[in-house]
Symmetry: C2
Subunit: 278 residues, 2 copies
Protein backbone atom coordinates (compact mmCIF):
# COMPACT_ATOMS: atom_id res chain seq x y z
CA UNK A 1 0.00 0.00 0.00
CA UNK A 2 1.32 3.38 -1.03
CA UNK A 3 2.39 5.79 1.68
CA UNK A 4 2.87 9.50 1.82
CA UNK A 5 6.44 9.29 0.60
CA UNK A 6 5.39 7.53 -2.56
CA UNK A 7 2.93 10.28 -3.25
CA UNK A 8 5.46 13.00 -2.49
CA UNK A 9 8.02 11.47 -4.82
CA UNK A 10 5.53 11.06 -7.61
CA UNK A 11 4.24 14.62 -7.29
CA UNK A 12 7.79 15.92 -6.81
CA UNK A 13 7.04 17.69 -3.58
CA UNK A 14 7.78 17.09 0.09
CA UNK A 15 5.59 14.96 2.32
CA UNK A 16 4.69 18.10 4.19
CA UNK A 17 3.08 19.47 1.08
CA UNK A 18 1.16 16.28 0.49
CA UNK A 19 -0.09 16.43 4.03
CA UNK A 20 -1.11 20.04 3.56
CA UNK A 21 -3.03 19.33 0.41
CA UNK A 22 -4.86 16.47 2.04
CA UNK A 23 -5.82 18.52 5.06
CA UNK A 24 -6.73 21.59 3.05
CA UNK A 25 -4.16 23.74 4.75
CA UNK A 26 -3.85 27.09 2.92
CA UNK A 27 -0.84 28.33 0.97
CA UNK A 28 -0.54 25.61 -1.59
CA UNK A 29 -0.78 26.66 -5.22
CA UNK A 30 -3.52 25.22 -7.35
CA UNK A 31 -1.10 23.61 -9.75
CA UNK A 32 0.80 21.89 -6.95
CA UNK A 33 -2.42 20.80 -5.34
CA UNK A 34 -3.54 19.29 -8.61
CA UNK A 35 -0.25 17.45 -9.05
CA UNK A 36 -0.54 15.97 -5.61
CA UNK A 37 -4.13 14.91 -6.03
CA UNK A 38 -3.21 13.37 -9.34
CA UNK A 39 -0.51 11.31 -7.67
CA UNK A 40 -2.93 10.32 -4.93
CA UNK A 41 -5.37 9.10 -7.52
CA UNK A 42 -2.82 7.21 -9.53
CA UNK A 43 -1.46 5.41 -6.51
CA UNK A 44 -4.81 4.88 -4.89
CA UNK A 45 -3.32 6.42 -1.81
CA UNK A 46 -5.27 6.59 1.41
CA UNK A 47 -3.53 7.88 4.52
CA UNK A 48 -3.02 5.46 7.35
CA UNK A 49 -5.39 6.26 10.15
CA UNK A 50 -3.08 4.56 12.58
CA UNK A 51 -0.15 6.82 11.79
CA UNK A 52 -2.39 9.81 11.87
CA UNK A 53 -3.71 8.78 15.24
CA UNK A 54 -0.23 8.57 16.61
CA UNK A 55 0.67 12.14 15.78
CA UNK A 56 -2.70 13.70 16.36
CA UNK A 57 -3.21 11.81 19.56
CA UNK A 58 -6.77 11.08 18.54
CA UNK A 59 -8.12 7.91 17.06
CA UNK A 60 -11.55 9.04 16.01
CA UNK A 61 -12.82 5.93 17.68
CA UNK A 62 -15.48 5.95 20.34
CA UNK A 63 -15.91 2.97 22.59
CA UNK A 64 -19.40 1.68 23.04
CA UNK A 65 -19.43 -0.25 26.28
CA UNK A 66 -22.31 -2.55 26.91
CA UNK A 67 -22.99 -4.40 30.10
CA UNK A 68 -22.96 -8.10 29.61
CA UNK A 69 -26.17 -9.69 30.66
CA UNK A 70 -26.72 -12.64 28.37
CA UNK A 71 -30.39 -13.12 29.12
CA UNK A 72 -31.09 -9.45 28.91
CA UNK A 73 -28.81 -8.33 26.14
CA UNK A 74 -29.90 -10.98 23.72
CA UNK A 75 -33.50 -10.04 23.98
CA UNK A 76 -33.63 -6.32 24.04
CA UNK A 77 -34.63 -4.93 20.68
CA UNK A 78 -34.38 -1.47 22.16
CA UNK A 79 -30.68 -1.94 22.62
CA UNK A 80 -30.09 -2.57 18.96
CA UNK A 81 -31.92 0.60 18.12
CA UNK A 82 -29.74 2.54 20.49
CA UNK A 83 -26.63 1.09 18.93
CA UNK A 84 -27.90 1.98 15.49
CA UNK A 85 -28.61 5.52 16.58
CA UNK A 86 -25.20 5.97 18.06
CA UNK A 87 -23.59 4.51 15.00
CA UNK A 88 -25.56 6.79 12.74
CA UNK A 89 -24.31 9.95 14.37
CA UNK A 90 -20.79 8.70 14.86
CA UNK A 91 -20.70 7.87 11.20
CA UNK A 92 -21.87 11.31 10.20
CA UNK A 93 -19.03 12.83 12.16
CA UNK A 94 -16.42 10.44 10.80
CA UNK A 95 -16.03 8.63 14.08
CA UNK A 96 -15.91 4.90 14.43
CA UNK A 97 -17.47 2.73 17.04
CA UNK A 98 -15.57 0.17 18.99
CA UNK A 99 -17.98 -2.35 20.30
CA UNK A 100 -17.15 -3.75 23.66
CA UNK A 101 -18.97 -5.63 26.35
CA UNK A 102 -17.90 -5.78 29.93
CA UNK A 103 -17.82 -9.28 31.27
CA UNK A 104 -18.43 -9.61 34.94
CA UNK A 105 -16.17 -12.64 34.89
CA UNK A 106 -13.29 -10.54 33.69
CA UNK A 107 -13.65 -6.86 34.40
CA UNK A 108 -10.02 -6.32 33.46
CA UNK A 109 -10.92 -7.31 29.93
CA UNK A 110 -10.65 -5.60 26.60
CA UNK A 111 -13.30 -3.23 27.78
CA UNK A 112 -11.27 -1.75 30.55
CA UNK A 113 -7.96 -2.17 28.87
CA UNK A 114 -8.92 -0.18 25.84
CA UNK A 115 -9.47 2.89 27.88
CA UNK A 116 -5.96 2.99 29.18
CA UNK A 117 -4.23 2.17 25.96
CA UNK A 118 -5.49 5.25 24.24
CA UNK A 119 -7.34 3.44 21.56
CA UNK A 120 -10.52 5.37 22.07
CA UNK A 121 -11.12 9.08 22.29
CA UNK A 122 -14.04 8.59 24.59
CA UNK A 123 -16.69 6.13 25.59
CA UNK A 124 -20.40 5.74 25.67
CA UNK A 125 -21.58 3.38 28.35
CA UNK A 126 -24.95 1.76 28.44
CA UNK A 127 -26.21 1.53 31.93
CA UNK A 128 -29.76 0.52 31.54
CA UNK A 129 -29.16 -1.86 34.38
CA UNK A 130 -27.22 -1.10 37.47
CA UNK A 131 -23.73 0.29 37.03
CA UNK A 132 -21.02 -2.29 37.32
CA UNK A 133 -17.44 -2.36 38.38
CA UNK A 134 -15.93 -1.56 34.97
CA UNK A 135 -18.01 1.52 34.93
CA UNK A 136 -16.45 2.65 38.14
CA UNK A 137 -12.95 2.18 36.77
CA UNK A 138 -13.91 4.23 33.81
CA UNK A 139 -14.97 6.95 36.14
CA UNK A 140 -11.53 7.11 37.63
CA UNK A 141 -9.73 7.06 34.31
CA UNK A 142 -10.99 10.54 33.54
CA UNK A 143 -11.73 9.60 29.95
CA UNK A 144 -14.43 11.55 28.12
CA UNK A 145 -17.63 9.73 28.70
CA UNK A 146 -21.35 9.78 28.25
CA UNK A 147 -23.74 7.40 29.87
CA UNK A 148 -26.93 6.16 28.32
CA UNK A 149 -29.10 5.51 31.29
CA UNK A 150 -28.84 6.68 34.84
CA UNK A 151 -25.25 7.28 35.84
CA UNK A 152 -24.01 5.89 39.08
CA UNK A 153 -23.90 8.57 41.72
CA UNK A 154 -20.31 9.56 42.24
CA UNK A 155 -20.47 8.73 45.88
CA UNK A 156 -18.58 11.14 48.05
CA UNK A 157 -21.17 13.77 48.84
CA UNK A 158 -20.42 17.15 47.32
CA UNK A 159 -18.31 15.93 44.45
CA UNK A 160 -18.07 18.36 41.60
CA UNK A 161 -17.82 15.61 39.03
CA UNK A 162 -21.16 15.01 37.44
CA UNK A 163 -21.35 12.28 34.84
CA UNK A 164 -22.90 13.19 31.52
CA UNK A 165 -25.95 11.11 30.94
CA UNK A 166 -28.96 10.82 28.72
CA UNK A 167 -31.99 8.79 29.66
CA UNK A 168 -35.75 8.64 29.45
CA UNK A 169 -37.70 10.84 31.76
CA UNK A 170 -39.08 7.92 33.67
CA UNK A 171 -40.31 10.03 36.52
CA UNK A 172 -42.41 12.41 34.48
CA UNK A 173 -43.56 9.64 32.18
CA UNK A 174 -44.96 7.73 35.12
CA UNK A 175 -46.35 10.93 36.60
CA UNK A 176 -48.21 11.73 33.42
CA UNK A 177 -49.49 8.23 32.86
CA UNK A 178 -50.81 8.07 36.39
CA UNK A 179 -52.28 11.56 36.25
CA UNK A 180 -54.16 10.56 33.15
CA UNK A 181 -55.75 7.63 34.94
CA UNK A 182 -56.57 9.84 37.91
CA UNK A 183 -58.22 12.40 35.67
CA UNK A 184 -60.34 9.59 34.25
CA UNK A 185 -61.63 9.14 37.76
CA UNK A 186 -59.66 6.08 38.81
CA UNK A 187 -58.79 6.02 42.46
CA UNK A 188 -57.56 2.51 42.98
CA UNK A 189 -54.75 2.00 40.49
CA UNK A 190 -52.66 -1.16 40.45
CA UNK A 191 -49.04 -1.20 39.35
CA UNK A 192 -47.14 -4.02 37.72
CA UNK A 193 -43.57 -2.96 38.30
CA UNK A 194 -40.25 -4.47 37.35
CA UNK A 195 -38.04 -6.17 39.91
CA UNK A 196 -37.45 -4.06 43.01
CA UNK A 197 -33.99 -2.51 43.41
CA UNK A 198 -33.07 -3.63 39.95
CA UNK A 199 -32.69 -0.46 38.03
CA UNK A 200 -33.05 3.21 38.65
CA UNK A 201 -35.69 3.56 35.94
CA UNK A 202 -38.08 1.43 37.97
CA UNK A 203 -37.54 3.47 41.09
CA UNK A 204 -38.12 6.65 39.15
CA UNK A 205 -41.37 5.38 37.71
CA UNK A 206 -42.59 4.34 41.11
CA UNK A 207 -41.71 7.75 42.41
CA UNK A 208 -43.65 9.37 39.57
CA UNK A 209 -46.58 7.12 40.32
CA UNK A 210 -46.48 7.98 43.99
CA UNK A 211 -46.21 11.73 43.42
CA UNK A 212 -49.16 11.68 41.06
CA UNK A 213 -51.23 10.04 43.76
CA UNK A 214 -50.08 12.62 46.24
CA UNK A 215 -51.34 15.39 43.99
CA UNK A 216 -54.76 13.86 44.35
CA UNK A 217 -54.33 13.53 48.06
CA UNK A 218 -54.14 9.78 47.76
CA UNK A 219 -51.59 7.71 49.55
CA UNK A 220 -49.94 4.67 48.11
CA UNK A 221 -51.32 1.29 49.05
CA UNK A 222 -48.39 -1.18 48.93
CA UNK A 223 -50.83 -3.98 48.23
CA UNK A 224 -51.50 -2.40 44.86
CA UNK A 225 -47.96 -2.85 43.73
CA UNK A 226 -47.06 -6.16 42.13
CA UNK A 227 -43.58 -7.01 40.94
CA UNK A 228 -42.95 -8.74 37.65
CA UNK A 229 -39.78 -9.31 35.67
CA UNK A 230 -40.80 -7.75 32.38
CA UNK A 231 -41.93 -11.04 30.87
CA UNK A 232 -45.41 -11.79 29.62
CA UNK A 233 -45.82 -14.58 32.15
CA UNK A 234 -44.98 -12.37 35.08
CA UNK A 235 -47.50 -9.80 33.88
CA UNK A 236 -50.11 -12.53 33.70
CA UNK A 237 -49.37 -13.65 37.24
CA UNK A 238 -49.18 -10.15 38.68
CA UNK A 239 -52.51 -9.18 37.14
CA UNK A 240 -54.00 -12.24 38.76
CA UNK A 241 -52.97 -11.23 42.23
CA UNK A 242 -53.99 -7.61 41.74
CA UNK A 243 -57.45 -8.57 40.55
CA UNK A 244 -58.05 -10.73 43.56
CA UNK A 245 -57.93 -7.71 45.83
CA UNK A 246 -61.20 -6.28 47.00
CA UNK A 247 -62.17 -3.83 46.03
CA UNK A 248 -60.19 -4.59 42.94
CA UNK A 249 -58.28 -1.83 41.17
CA UNK A 250 -60.11 -0.14 38.33
CA UNK A 251 -56.92 0.45 36.36
CA UNK A 252 -53.48 -1.12 36.08
CA UNK A 253 -50.26 0.63 35.20
CA UNK A 254 -47.75 -1.77 33.64
CA UNK A 255 -44.08 -0.94 33.42
CA UNK A 256 -43.57 -2.52 30.01
CA UNK A 257 -45.46 -3.86 27.03
CA UNK A 258 -44.83 -7.54 27.56
CA UNK A 259 -46.23 -7.48 31.06
CA UNK A 260 -49.18 -5.44 29.81
CA UNK A 261 -49.89 -8.15 27.27
CA UNK A 262 -49.74 -10.79 29.96
CA UNK A 263 -52.01 -8.76 32.19
CA UNK A 264 -54.56 -8.27 29.43
CA UNK A 265 -54.63 -11.96 28.74
CA UNK A 266 -55.38 -12.63 32.37
CA UNK A 267 -58.00 -9.91 32.47
CA UNK A 268 -59.78 -11.38 29.49
CA UNK A 269 -59.72 -14.83 31.00
CA UNK A 270 -61.50 -13.37 33.98
CA UNK A 271 -64.20 -12.23 31.59
CA UNK A 272 -63.39 -8.58 32.06
CA UNK A 273 -63.22 -6.20 29.15
CA UNK A 274 -60.43 -3.77 28.42
CA UNK A 275 -60.90 -0.85 28.59
CA UNK A 276 -64.55 -0.98 29.63
CA UNK A 277 -64.19 -2.91 32.87
CA UNK A 278 -60.57 -2.20 33.58
Amino acid sequence: MANIYDVARRAKVSTATVSKVLSNTPYVSDTTKERVLEAVRELGYSPSLVARSLTKNRTYVIGLAIPYRPDYLFNDPFLLQVIQGVEEIANERDYNLLFSTARPSNPESAYTRLLRTGYVDGVITLETLEAGEPSRKLEESGLARVTIGYPLSTGSGTTDKVANAVHCDDYNGALEATSYLLRQGHRRIGVISGPANFMVAIDERLRGFKDALTCYALSLDPALIAYGDFTLESGYAAAGSLLELSPRPSAIFCFNDMMALGAMRRVREMKLRVPEDL
Copy 2:
Protein backbone atom coordinates in the same frame (compact mmCIF):
# COMPACT_ATOMS: atom_id res chain seq x y z
CA MET B 1 0.21 9.22 30.45
CA ALA B 2 3.49 7.45 30.93
CA ASN B 3 5.26 6.10 27.88
CA ILE B 4 7.93 3.50 27.37
CA TYR B 5 10.74 6.00 27.86
CA ASP B 6 9.47 6.92 31.30
CA VAL B 7 9.48 3.28 32.24
CA ALA B 8 12.95 2.72 30.78
CA ARG B 9 14.37 5.65 32.69
CA ARG B 10 12.82 4.59 35.93
CA ALA B 11 14.00 1.00 35.60
CA LYS B 12 17.38 2.18 34.35
CA VAL B 13 17.30 0.12 31.21
CA SER B 14 16.76 0.84 27.53
CA THR B 15 13.34 0.97 25.94
CA ALA B 16 14.27 -2.16 24.04
CA THR B 17 14.53 -4.03 27.29
CA VAL B 18 11.20 -2.73 28.47
CA SER B 19 9.66 -3.87 25.23
CA LYS B 20 11.26 -7.28 25.63
CA VAL B 21 9.99 -7.72 29.13
CA LEU B 22 6.49 -6.78 28.10
CA SER B 23 6.46 -9.18 25.18
CA ASN B 24 8.10 -11.99 27.09
CA THR B 25 11.04 -12.16 24.77
CA PRO B 26 13.73 -14.43 26.25
CA TYR B 27 17.17 -13.37 27.48
CA VAL B 28 16.20 -10.92 30.13
CA SER B 29 17.41 -11.64 33.65
CA ASP B 30 14.86 -12.12 36.35
CA THR B 31 16.12 -9.20 38.35
CA THR B 32 15.92 -6.85 35.39
CA LYS B 33 12.51 -8.14 34.52
CA GLU B 34 11.35 -7.45 38.05
CA ARG B 35 12.76 -3.93 37.98
CA VAL B 36 10.93 -3.18 34.77
CA LEU B 37 7.65 -4.59 35.98
CA GLU B 38 8.02 -2.61 39.15
CA ALA B 39 8.43 0.58 37.16
CA VAL B 40 5.46 -0.34 35.02
CA ARG B 41 3.38 -0.79 38.11
CA GLU B 42 4.49 2.41 39.74
CA LEU B 43 3.79 4.49 36.67
CA GLY B 44 0.61 2.69 35.77
CA TYR B 45 2.08 2.24 32.36
CA SER B 46 0.10 0.70 29.59
CA PRO B 47 1.62 0.58 26.11
CA SER B 48 -0.09 2.62 23.44
CA LEU B 49 -1.99 0.34 21.14
CA VAL B 50 -1.80 2.95 18.44
CA ALA B 51 1.98 3.07 18.45
CA ARG B 52 2.13 -0.67 18.59
CA SER B 53 -0.20 -0.91 15.63
CA LEU B 54 2.04 1.34 13.61
CA THR B 55 5.13 -0.82 13.96
CA LYS B 56 3.46 -4.18 13.97
CA ASN B 57 1.22 -3.27 11.11
CA ARG B 58 -1.70 -4.87 12.87
CA THR B 59 -4.39 -3.14 14.83
CA TYR B 60 -6.02 -6.10 16.49
CA VAL B 61 -9.28 -4.66 15.36
CA ILE B 62 -11.79 -6.54 13.29
CA GLY B 63 -14.47 -4.70 11.41
CA LEU B 64 -17.98 -6.00 11.80
CA ALA B 65 -19.93 -4.77 8.83
CA ILE B 66 -23.66 -4.94 8.95
CA PRO B 67 -26.03 -4.25 6.14
CA TYR B 68 -28.23 -1.31 6.84
CA ARG B 69 -31.85 -2.24 6.68
CA PRO B 70 -33.65 -0.15 9.26
CA ASP B 71 -36.83 -2.17 9.36
CA TYR B 72 -35.00 -5.41 9.40
CA LEU B 73 -32.00 -4.65 11.50
CA PHE B 74 -33.96 -3.13 14.33
CA ASN B 75 -36.06 -6.16 14.78
CA ASP B 76 -33.82 -9.12 14.44
CA PRO B 77 -32.94 -10.59 17.80
CA PHE B 78 -30.87 -13.20 16.00
CA LEU B 79 -28.54 -10.48 14.80
CA LEU B 80 -27.76 -9.35 18.29
CA GLN B 81 -26.89 -12.88 19.24
CA VAL B 82 -24.54 -13.13 16.32
CA ILE B 83 -22.85 -9.91 17.31
CA GLN B 84 -22.48 -11.15 20.85
CA GLY B 85 -20.99 -14.39 19.66
CA VAL B 86 -18.49 -12.64 17.48
CA GLU B 87 -17.61 -10.29 20.26
CA GLU B 88 -17.13 -13.12 22.68
CA ILE B 89 -14.51 -14.85 20.60
CA ALA B 90 -12.81 -11.65 19.50
CA ASN B 91 -12.53 -10.71 23.12
CA GLU B 92 -10.98 -14.02 24.07
CA ARG B 93 -8.32 -13.49 21.44
CA ASP B 94 -7.65 -9.89 22.43
CA TYR B 95 -9.19 -8.51 19.32
CA ASN B 96 -11.56 -5.58 19.25
CA LEU B 97 -14.61 -5.09 17.17
CA LEU B 98 -15.24 -2.06 15.07
CA PHE B 99 -18.91 -1.80 14.48
CA SER B 100 -19.90 -0.43 11.15
CA THR B 101 -23.02 -0.42 9.07
CA ALA B 102 -23.09 0.03 5.34
CA ARG B 103 -25.44 2.72 4.24
CA PRO B 104 -26.91 2.34 0.81
CA SER B 105 -27.15 6.10 0.62
CA ASN B 106 -23.44 6.43 1.05
CA PRO B 107 -21.50 3.30 0.28
CA GLU B 108 -18.25 5.26 0.31
CA SER B 109 -18.79 5.90 4.00
CA ALA B 110 -16.88 4.89 7.08
CA TYR B 111 -17.59 1.31 6.22
CA THR B 112 -15.61 1.22 3.02
CA ARG B 113 -13.13 3.84 4.06
CA LEU B 114 -11.91 1.96 7.07
CA LEU B 115 -10.84 -0.94 4.99
CA ARG B 116 -8.39 1.10 2.98
CA THR B 117 -6.97 3.09 5.82
CA GLY B 118 -5.58 0.12 7.60
CA TYR B 119 -7.58 0.50 10.72
CA VAL B 120 -8.82 -3.05 10.67
CA ASP B 121 -6.96 -6.30 10.26
CA GLY B 122 -9.93 -7.93 8.63
CA VAL B 123 -13.66 -7.83 8.39
CA ILE B 124 -16.66 -9.93 9.10
CA THR B 125 -19.59 -9.07 6.94
CA LEU B 126 -23.14 -10.03 7.68
CA GLU B 127 -24.95 -10.93 4.56
CA THR B 128 -28.12 -12.44 5.72
CA LEU B 129 -29.81 -10.45 3.03
CA GLU B 130 -28.53 -10.00 -0.45
CA ALA B 131 -24.97 -8.78 -0.82
CA GLY B 132 -24.69 -5.10 -1.52
CA GLU B 133 -22.33 -2.84 -3.28
CA PRO B 134 -19.98 -2.20 -0.34
CA SER B 135 -19.48 -5.89 -0.12
CA ARG B 136 -18.25 -5.95 -3.66
CA LYS B 137 -15.71 -3.24 -3.00
CA LEU B 138 -14.46 -5.19 -0.07
CA GLU B 139 -13.99 -8.14 -2.31
CA GLU B 140 -11.63 -6.18 -4.49
CA SER B 141 -9.63 -4.74 -1.64
CA GLY B 142 -8.21 -8.14 -0.86
CA LEU B 143 -8.63 -7.62 2.85
CA ALA B 144 -9.03 -10.69 5.04
CA ARG B 145 -12.69 -11.42 5.24
CA VAL B 146 -15.30 -13.81 6.44
CA THR B 147 -18.94 -13.65 5.55
CA ILE B 148 -21.75 -14.66 7.83
CA GLY B 149 -24.38 -15.81 5.44
CA TYR B 150 -24.17 -16.80 1.82
CA PRO B 151 -21.37 -14.97 0.06
CA LEU B 152 -22.05 -13.40 -3.26
CA SER B 153 -20.73 -15.53 -6.06
CA THR B 154 -17.55 -13.96 -7.34
CA GLY B 155 -18.95 -13.66 -10.80
CA SER B 156 -16.42 -14.37 -13.52
CA GLY B 157 -16.77 -18.10 -14.02
CA THR B 158 -13.74 -20.09 -12.98
CA THR B 159 -12.38 -17.65 -10.47
CA ASP B 160 -10.06 -19.17 -7.91
CA LYS B 161 -11.15 -16.72 -5.26
CA VAL B 162 -13.70 -18.29 -2.98
CA ALA B 163 -15.04 -16.16 -0.19
CA ASN B 164 -14.92 -17.62 3.29
CA ALA B 165 -18.37 -17.97 4.66
CA VAL B 166 -20.27 -19.53 7.47
CA HIS B 167 -23.99 -20.05 7.37
CA CYS B 168 -26.77 -22.39 8.38
CA ASP B 169 -27.24 -25.51 6.36
CA ASP B 170 -30.55 -24.33 5.05
CA TYR B 171 -30.71 -26.96 2.37
CA ASN B 172 -30.23 -29.96 4.62
CA GLY B 173 -32.33 -28.45 7.33
CA ALA B 174 -35.25 -28.15 4.99
CA LEU B 175 -34.51 -31.59 3.57
CA GLU B 176 -34.63 -33.16 6.99
CA ALA B 177 -37.70 -31.30 8.14
CA THR B 178 -39.56 -32.31 5.03
CA SER B 179 -38.33 -35.90 5.17
CA TYR B 180 -39.64 -36.14 8.69
CA LEU B 181 -43.09 -35.11 7.58
CA LEU B 182 -42.93 -37.53 4.66
CA ARG B 183 -41.96 -40.39 6.99
CA GLN B 184 -44.98 -39.53 9.09
CA GLY B 185 -47.01 -40.29 6.03
CA HIS B 186 -47.82 -36.79 4.87
CA ARG B 187 -48.06 -36.47 1.12
CA ARG B 188 -49.56 -33.03 0.68
CA ILE B 189 -47.29 -30.61 2.49
CA GLY B 190 -47.80 -26.88 2.36
CA VAL B 191 -44.95 -24.39 2.64
CA ILE B 192 -45.05 -20.91 4.04
CA SER B 193 -41.92 -19.43 2.58
CA GLY B 194 -40.27 -16.06 2.90
CA PRO B 195 -40.36 -13.53 0.06
CA ALA B 196 -39.27 -14.98 -3.26
CA ASN B 197 -35.84 -13.94 -4.58
CA PHE B 198 -35.10 -12.21 -1.35
CA MET B 199 -32.31 -14.19 0.16
CA VAL B 200 -30.33 -17.25 -0.68
CA ALA B 201 -31.42 -19.01 2.50
CA ILE B 202 -35.00 -19.12 1.25
CA ASP B 203 -34.00 -20.56 -2.09
CA GLU B 204 -31.91 -23.19 -0.36
CA ARG B 205 -34.76 -24.24 1.87
CA LEU B 206 -37.11 -24.50 -1.05
CA ARG B 207 -34.53 -26.62 -2.82
CA GLY B 208 -34.25 -28.89 0.21
CA PHE B 209 -38.00 -29.16 0.37
CA LYS B 210 -38.22 -30.02 -3.30
CA ASP B 211 -35.46 -32.64 -3.15
CA ALA B 212 -37.08 -34.34 -0.21
CA LEU B 213 -40.27 -34.66 -2.21
CA THR B 214 -38.32 -36.05 -5.12
CA CYS B 215 -36.91 -38.80 -2.90
CA TYR B 216 -40.46 -39.90 -2.35
CA ALA B 217 -41.22 -39.66 -6.03
CA LEU B 218 -43.45 -36.69 -5.43
CA SER B 219 -43.33 -33.57 -7.51
CA LEU B 220 -43.81 -30.11 -6.20
CA ASP B 221 -47.20 -28.52 -6.50
CA PRO B 222 -46.68 -24.75 -6.80
CA ALA B 223 -50.10 -24.16 -5.32
CA LEU B 224 -48.79 -25.55 -2.04
CA ILE B 225 -46.24 -22.78 -1.69
CA ALA B 226 -47.40 -19.58 -0.04
CA TYR B 227 -45.15 -16.57 0.41
CA GLY B 228 -45.07 -14.59 3.61
CA ASP B 229 -42.68 -11.94 4.86
CA PHE B 230 -41.65 -13.51 8.15
CA THR B 231 -44.25 -11.66 10.18
CA LEU B 232 -46.97 -13.27 12.24
CA GLU B 233 -49.66 -11.63 10.15
CA SER B 234 -48.29 -12.97 6.90
CA GLY B 235 -48.18 -16.47 8.41
CA TYR B 236 -51.78 -16.11 9.44
CA ALA B 237 -52.80 -15.05 5.92
CA ALA B 238 -50.71 -17.68 4.17
CA ALA B 239 -52.14 -20.46 6.32
CA GLY B 240 -55.58 -19.25 5.38
CA SER B 241 -54.99 -19.63 1.68
CA LEU B 242 -53.25 -22.98 2.06
CA LEU B 243 -56.10 -24.42 4.08
CA GLU B 244 -58.66 -23.41 1.48
CA LEU B 245 -57.11 -25.79 -1.00
CA SER B 246 -58.83 -29.08 -1.56
CA PRO B 247 -57.72 -31.50 -0.63
CA ARG B 248 -56.08 -29.39 1.99
CA PRO B 249 -52.48 -30.08 3.02
CA SER B 250 -52.06 -32.35 6.02
CA ALA B 251 -48.91 -30.54 7.15
CA ILE B 252 -47.38 -27.10 6.78
CA PHE B 253 -43.70 -26.25 6.77
CA CYS B 254 -43.09 -22.68 7.94
CA PHE B 255 -39.83 -20.87 7.25
CA ASN B 256 -39.71 -19.09 10.58
CA ASP B 257 -41.25 -19.08 14.03
CA MET B 258 -43.29 -15.93 13.72
CA MET B 259 -45.08 -17.17 10.63
CA ALA B 260 -45.61 -20.52 12.31
CA LEU B 261 -47.30 -18.75 15.20
CA GLY B 262 -49.53 -16.86 12.81
CA ALA B 263 -50.34 -20.06 10.96
CA MET B 264 -51.24 -21.87 14.17
CA ARG B 265 -53.52 -19.08 15.20
CA ARG B 266 -55.34 -19.36 11.91
CA VAL B 267 -55.50 -23.13 12.15
CA ARG B 268 -57.07 -22.96 15.59
CA GLU B 269 -59.62 -20.44 14.43
CA MET B 270 -60.63 -22.93 11.80
CA LYS B 271 -61.27 -25.39 14.62
CA LEU B 272 -58.43 -27.64 13.64
CA ARG B 273 -56.11 -29.10 16.22
CA VAL B 274 -52.32 -29.04 16.03
CA PRO B 275 -50.82 -31.56 15.71
CA GLU B 276 -53.76 -33.93 15.54
CA ASP B 277 -55.54 -32.51 12.49
CA LEU B 278 -52.62 -30.70 10.90
